[in-house]
């Protein structure tokens, strides 16, 4: 029995039915399917790791924008829990505004639920404007707000008129959709409707790009920025790590959108293509091969001799600078195995970096991805709509007649499309060898069961299973928050990542504790990796 059957065998019929298509053991050479079920409702009661729509909208996409005051309209919990928990770093811009350290909430009380909270929200905005003088105020709603019917959009419109600010409301009640993913989409729609394209100051640079889906966790975005600036790119905006309204409002004037986390932000890239004609390119700045590939694709897209030359120069210099460290860490990590369970793109992105370090991925899964994140963008037309994803607004974007630009000739477009991930991404599964496991929406029990069966040396996930894993004797590294470390992106980040892994695996404490499978006769462990026997 393989690990999949082993794990599923512990479920009752109903759960078995809902979970079986979310777990894959890759066996394409034997004609096995590479199709996976994803983005469907979590099974109640079995401790999904997923968050809610509000978490996706406020916590992930909107929250990192440093110069907007984001007010959580709801009871205190939601605001409190999303206060500084994502480690999205930001520094104040020239205007000195940086609200990242703040948590703003309307702190709704029982009376507000009974009599409506819009009055309180209106006052809260007034107070925020008076105290903090933001140019932009965002409102994110929580579960009860949608149910009691506070019209946050009307309040926002009023506030705009009264205070002369931009005020956008996001109806991202926690119960919408099946995970954070719905919240990303709602946030993207809001940014597209209200912010992008609201400022026509041109970037005034030859190679102007936006970096989408980079949230600057642990300073990732800053490392990527460093590399791109060295080559000569002008970064117009970053969505949304260390991002600002000022930058995002003029992002439509860049020459190319780079998409790092496709899951959370591909909507914006698509909508900007429709409205402004901007092409987008899937990139990955995690892992040497991936970075180099992405940088070369970018140079090829702009098709400029000097740029290509400079790209190669920078790549050579950067690689040389980290080569020794990387070789050393690889020597310590070669042959180790890893499991990854994060978000909607990192489980894929980090496999490139793990390969650089000689670490093999035995299991990978996403928390809130859709099928295309696993299988490649081309499956989108085949994804069936269901009640949950129909509830998230699909914005119809029209071509902006004044600002629409065509960047590539059809021939060039077709040519490039064949050579790079231009407006596409191949998904995670294609990059994983047969025999490895892909698990969507991994839960508490499955984490434990797969760990015992596959015995990865390192499990990359988040805080919720960190201590479960460590109690079991397995090294856990948080790939959401980087365990207070980072950056991991870019060339220099890769070295830090290698260092953190070696540091983790070599901790003296591990020698004093025994993982359960070494204690117990491993009847279930027979399917595990032979290197651990």
């Amino acid at each position: 029995m393989d690990a999949k059957s082993e794990v599923l065998s512990r479920y009752n019929a109903k759960v078995f039915k809902s979970r079986k298509d979310h777990i894959l053991r890759l066996s394409r050479s034997e004609g096995g399917s590479a199709e996976i079920a994803a983005n469907s409702r979590a099974v109640p009661g079995i401790m999904t790791n997923r968050g809610c729509c509000y978490a996706g909208c406020k916590g992930v996409v909107v929250g990192p924008i440093r110069d907007a005051v984001t007010i959580t309209h709801g009871p205190i919990g939601c605001g409190f829990y999303s206060w500084g928990t994502r480690r999205n770093k930001a520094r104040a811009g020239e205007d000195g505004k940086n609200f990242i350290q703040y948590c703003f909430s309307t702190d709704m009380q029982e009376a507000d639920i009974v009599f409506g909270g819009d009055k309180k929200l209106r006052q809260a905005i007034r107070e925020a404007v008076e105290i903090f003088h933001p140019k932009t105020v965002f409102i994110c709603s929580t579960c009860p707000v949608g149910l009691i019917g506070d019209d946050i959009h009307a309040v926002a419109a009023e506030a705009e008129k009264e205070f002369g600010i931009t005020c956008a409301a996001f109806s991202c009640e926690g119960y919408k959709g099946v995970s954070q993913s719905g919240g990303h989409h709602i946030a993207n729609n809001g940014l597209m409707k209200r912010i992008i394209g609201s400022n026509d100051t041109p970037p005034d640079a030859k190679f102007a790009i936006n970096l989408l889906g980079e949230y600057n966790i642990g300073g990732d975005g800053w490392e990527v920025e460093r590399i791109l600036k060295r080559i000569g790119y002008k970064i117009v905006s970053i969505f949304t790590g260390n991002g600002s309204i000022e930058e995002i409002s003029r992002s439509h004037l860049a020459g190319l959108n780079l998409v790092q986390c496709h899951r959370s932000i591909n909507y914006v890239a698509e909508m900007m293509k429709s409205a402004y004609g901007m092409d987008w390119l899937k990139v990955n700045f995690i892992g040497m091969d991936a970075i180099c590939g992405s940088l070369r694709d970018m140079a090829e897209y702009f098709d400029d001799g000097a740029l290509k030359l400079r790209t190669e120069e920078v790549i050579a210099e950067e690689l040389a600078a980290v080569a020794e460290d990387m070789a050393f860490f690889r020597s310590r990590l070669e042959g180790k195995t890893a499991a990854l369970f994060v978000g909607g793109s990192r489980s894929h992105h980090y496999q490139s970096l793990l390969r650089d370090l000689g670490v093999r991925t035995v299991l990978a899964g996403y928390e809130f991805a859709h099928r295309d994140d696993y299988e490649g963008r081309e499956v989108i037309p085949d994804i069936k709509e269901d009640a949950d994803n129909k509830n998230i607004e699909q914005l119809e974007v029209e071509r902006d007649p004044k600002r629409y630009r065509v960047f590539l000739s059809p021939e060039r477009y077709a040519e490039l499309k064949g050579r790079m991930e231009l407006e596409s991404y191949a998904g995670m599964i294609r990059d994983m060898p047969d025999g490895s496991y892909v698990v969507d929406d991994l839960n508490h029990f499955e984490t434990e069961a797969f760990t015992a069966l596959l015995r990865p040396d390192i499990f990359f996930s988040g805080i919720k299973d960190k201590y479960v894993l460590q109690k079991g004797g397995t090294l856990s590294r948080q790939l959401h928050s980087y365990d207070y470390s980072g950056p991991y992106a870019g060339f220099r980040g890769a070295v830090l990542f290698g260092r953190d892994l070696v540091m983790g695996l070599q901790a003296p404490a591990w020698r004093l504790v025994t993982p359960p499978w070494k204690r117990q006769p491993a009847e279930t462990a027979a399917q595990g990796d032979a290197t651990h026997a």
Binding site: G77, V468, K471
Partner: protein
């Protein structure tokens, strides 16, 4: 309720009710929680608890989606219960509602009743708790959970000799300590809840998904038959009190005590145990003695502490009492919960201790957020924060240590091992408080003492005192405080005509734009006249705070006049701040006398600290009857400047150093100057671009561009604060910065341009553009002008045609240097555009009159055939003079640029 505006919570000091429920149920054996609502609640709460306890925290969710909100969540809850029970085999499941379930009105009790009715074999005890996030905080959630547990457990009321001990939120380590104590008393006890193992487990035993520790359900059932309940929670709401329930329902007597934090409350707790027949272990008595000893040891440190205690009601009360019994004054005690009862008892506790140390101000805040707390911390001068790690942002901003001893601790390890209970806990806290205060004291001791006793430098105590009051005066000095520049006025008294050095950027005959000298265009006053002018201006200008002497020569080169002026004014006005600017050559001679004359602020222009560089700036210096040239002159000037600066700062005089930035001469040297003057005690530096003056040695030197200038200021900022709001005032300026009124307030017309040649006959009138803000005086720099007054003049009369705004200028901005200049290339371009727009605005004029004008615009105007005059005078006069001069003298006087 605090004075806070209450609609916006800025940085909450509380968490929501479901978190409290889950937290308490982690102290029940074999129990797992399921939150009925959106899965985000479970995820967020797991994340927060796991980070604090560094332990697995598993909370199931019914994962309600939009469909559930419309059709009810019963189906999800039932499936959730099925799956949870099948996978975890719990003894107890706690179903707690969330905002979502409560708002849609889910009747979880009924759903669970039906659920169990349909599953007769199910042996799992399912407890339901109503816990909408908007109905209370973690504190109330904790007690609601325990109360529901007692309400819904099948009670075994048969009487027994045991004692119930119910606590509010405690750390696992504190719970363990409490258990050890209870065991030591020999009493038969039930502790509810008991999170000691489940949220602080060991490594070694196989990990169990189901929390195995905690109070067993059977023991909970027997609580109904106990002899008494001790409820160690002062502020638990009656309707949520587990002890009250046991009393009302089963007649178990309730003794409510304070949480045993600190000496008094631990004593009381032990006394209660003793009263119930427990024997207090000898080691507790020893521990008490040790704590007393520790209190004696710590008093000298903690008495200097001014604490801000924040968190949940019981803990805030306990910590406040602990602080008070140690003479550490809690100047802020705050809870984020709504607990009005807390205020009176806290005030009663704090007042005597505060009064004992002559502290008038302390704040007790209810329903507070960190915005309120931080404001109170600042207002009351707290120097120690005590509470959860959520205070770290305030701690960081205010540079105050934070002792983390409450949930949640998210940025440090050891949340599970917090100790506050009992004598041992108190001892540990006392050490932590003392050590935090000691570290802070040690880190700042030298500086504090130096500032207090030596005025920031080695020197006399009197100087130290002077330094303090002199620094305080900076707040109303427009040149030393940007804010003061908008509201306080100064008067410059031109009593010092002579100068003793020759600078290459200066032509003595004319206004020196670099060092604020008005040259010959204004009258020099005698000390008596100066006093008269001062008194007259003071009468009409209530905002006047500063009297300064800035030339037109060097204040010290005319020392007798300067000293006499100051003496006369001081006799009439004991309050006004005295300020003086000098090249510093004679400072060593006069520094002590200046301090005696109560000069509190001195500006010294120091352009170099290296004689080689200095020799390129100064051509000669007259000192003690000798004339020095070249490097000798520079060396002497520089060493006198630096020695004088040191003497002044030792005397507590606040010193500003002006540096004229000269491209290719001292531009790479300025940072060295700033570094050097910093070590000698200068408070602020003012780096100014040199404006080339026609006829001076540096006539053809280029100006440093704004971007380089600003970048340099930026680099120097890390060494010494930079003055960015300098307007390069005149030596006879009066009023607010940038709004000079000296013309209006002059007693006689200046003799400046009166010796102009007579008009050579009548000619057709010329259009003259005047850079002026007031419309009365030529008082604007050409490039900064927001508008030009366009006059028509034939040299005999002048007629105003229009006030013409410069395109694209916002009123009130004017690029007047009171904000950082632009850095990016786009903005620099825009800055250039400013000049272009000014040039466009005057394109149809034959003459431009401005107070000052840069080299490049001056050249550009000349190329267009527009004559340029730089002066400071009433518009009418300046316009006529300019036209006459323009016509009459082909050889325009080199006074004009």
């Amino acid at each position: 309720m605090s004075s806070r505006i209450v609609n916006l919570n800025v940085n909450p000091c509380k968490m929501c009710m479901p978190l409290g429920v889950v937290n308490a149920f982690y102290g029940v054996a074999g129990c797992i929680c399921l939150l009925h609502g959106s899965q985000g609640c479970s995820t967020y709460i797991r994340r927060h608890m796991a980070t604090h306890y560094n332990e697995p925290v598993d909370i199931a969710s019914s994962s309600l989606t939009e469909e559930g909100t419309v059709f009810g969540g019963e189906g999800n809850l039932i499936r959730g219960l099925d799956n949870l029970i099948a996978l975890y085999h719990p003894e107890v499941v706690a179903v707690a509602t969330t905002c979502l379930a409560e708002t849609i009105g889910e009747d979880v009790r009924a759903i669970v009743r039906d659920y169990l009715a349909g599953r007769p074999d199910c042996r799992v005890k399912i407890i339901t708790v109503n816990s909408a996030g908007y109905s209370g905080t973690r504190y109330e959630g904790w007690f609601r959970a325990l109360r529901a547990l007692l309400e819904q457990t099948d009670a075994d009321a048969s009487a027994h000799a045991g004692v119930n001990v119910v606590t509010g939120p405690l750390s696992p380590a504190d719970t363990r300590a409490l258990k050890r104590l209870l065991r030591g008393t020999g009493l038969d006890f039930t502790l509810l809840p008991d999170i000691s193992d489940n949220l602080d487990g060991g490594c070694g035993a196989p990990y169990s998904r189901l929390p195995a520790g905690g109070t067993p359900l059977a023991a909970i059932a027997r609580m109904a038959g106990a002899r008494a309940t001790l409820e160690a929670a002062t502020f638990v709401p009656e309707e949520a009190s587990p002890g009250r329930l046991l009393e009302e329902k089963f007649g178990v007597p309730l003794f409510r005590l304070n949480m045993p934090v600190g000496l008094r409350d631990t004593d009381a707790f032990l006394a209660a145990l003793e009263e119930l027949g427990g024997s207090i272990p000898a080691e507790e008595r020893e521990e008490r003695a040790r704590y007393l000893d520790a209190m004696v040891d710590a008093h000298k440190h903690v008495a200097l502490g001014r604490a801000a205690v924040f968190g949940e009601p019981d803990l805030v009360y306990g910590l406040t009492r602990l602080c008070c019994e140690n003479g550490l004054v809690p100047v802020v005690a705050a809870t984020g919960a709504d607990c009005p009862a807390l205020k009176a008892v806290l005030e009663e506790e704090i007042r005597p201790v505060a009064e004992n140390l002559m502290l008038q101000r302390f704040s007790v805040l209810n329903f507070a957020d960190f915005d309120d707390i931080e404001a109170a911390v600042a207002a009351n001068g707290a120097n120690l924060l005590i509470g959860s790690s959520d205070g770290r942002r305030a701690a960081h901003r205010r540079n105050i240590p934070l002792v983390r001893c409450a949930f949640p601790v998210h940025d440090h390890l050891g949340g599970q091992r917090i100790r506050v209970l009992g004598y041992a806990g108190a001892m540990r806290l006392l050490d932590e408080f003392s050590n935090a205060l000691i570290s802070n004291l040690e880190a700042s001791f030298r500086k504090t003492i130096r500032d207090r006793c030596f005025g920031g430098r080695e020197g006399s105590a009197a100087a130290g005192k002077a330094a303090g009051s002199n620094r305080a005066r900076s707040a109303t000095h427009p040149c030393f405080s940007e804010a003061a520049g908008h509201s306080f006025a100064r008067i410059h008294l031109p009593v010092a005509p002579d100068c003793n050095i020759t600078c290459n950027y200066c032509v003595r005959a004319f206004d020196c734009p670099n060092e604020s000298r008005p040259g010959v265009t204004s009258r020099v006053l005698t000390p008596d006249e100066a006093l008269e002018r001062f008194l007259r201006v003071r009468e009409s200008m209530p905002s006047l705070r500063v009297a300064g002497i800035a030339g037109p020569g060097d204040a010290l080169a005319n020392f007798e006049a300067t000293a006499e002026t100051l003496r006369l004014i001081r006799r009439e006005d004991p309050e006004v701040t005295f300020c003086l600017s000098t090249n510093g050559l004679l400072l060593p001679l006069h520094a002590a006398r200046l301090a005696e004359l109560s000069v509190s602020h001195v500006t010294i222009t120091i352009n170099a600290v290296d004689p080689v560089v200095g020799a390129r700036i100064y051509s000669q210096a007259a000192y003690m009857g000798m004339r020095f040239r070249g490097e000798a002159a520079a060396a002497m000037l520089l060493s006198n400047q630096l020695a004088g600066l040191k003497m002044l700062t030792d005397l507590g005089v606040v010193c500003k150093v002006n540096i004229v930035l000269i491209k290719g001469v001292n531009d790479t040297h300025v940072e060295d100057v700033v570094r050097k003057v910093k070590t000698l005690g200068a408070s602020i530096a003012n780096i100014m671009q040199m404006i080339p003056v026609r006829g001076s040695a540096f006539e053809h030197m280029p100006m440093v561009d704004n971007k380089t200038h600003e970048a340099l200021r930026g680099r120097c900022e890390s060494i010494l604060p930079q003055m960015r709001h300098c307007r390069q005032c005149r030596a006879d300026a009066v009023g607010l910065l940038g709004e000079d009124q000296s013309i209006r307030l002059r007693e006689a017309a200046p003799a400046a341009l009166s010796s102009v040649p007579a008009a050579p006959g009548v000619e057709s009138p010329v259009k003259v553009a005047v850079a002026s803000r007031s419309g009365v005086v030529v008082d604007q720099h050409f490039g900064f002008a927001e508008q030009f007054y366009i006059y028509e003049s034939d040299g005999l009369s002048a007629r105003l045609l229009e006030a013409r705004r410069v395109a694209g200028k916002n009123a009130g901005c004017g690029g007047c240097g009171n904000r950082p200049l632009p850095e990016g290339p786009e903005e620099v371009e825009a800055g250039g555009g400013k000049i272009v727009r000014a040039l466009e605005a005057v394109a149809d004029c034959g003459v431009v009159v401005a107070m000052r004008i840069g080299d490049s615009p001056s050249r550009q105007l000349a190329q267009k055939g527009i004559s340029v005059f730089s002066t400071y005078d009433s518009i009418d006069k300046a316009v006529k003079d300019a036209v006459l001069r323009c016509r009459g003298a082909a050889a325009a006087d080199s006074r004009f640029l």
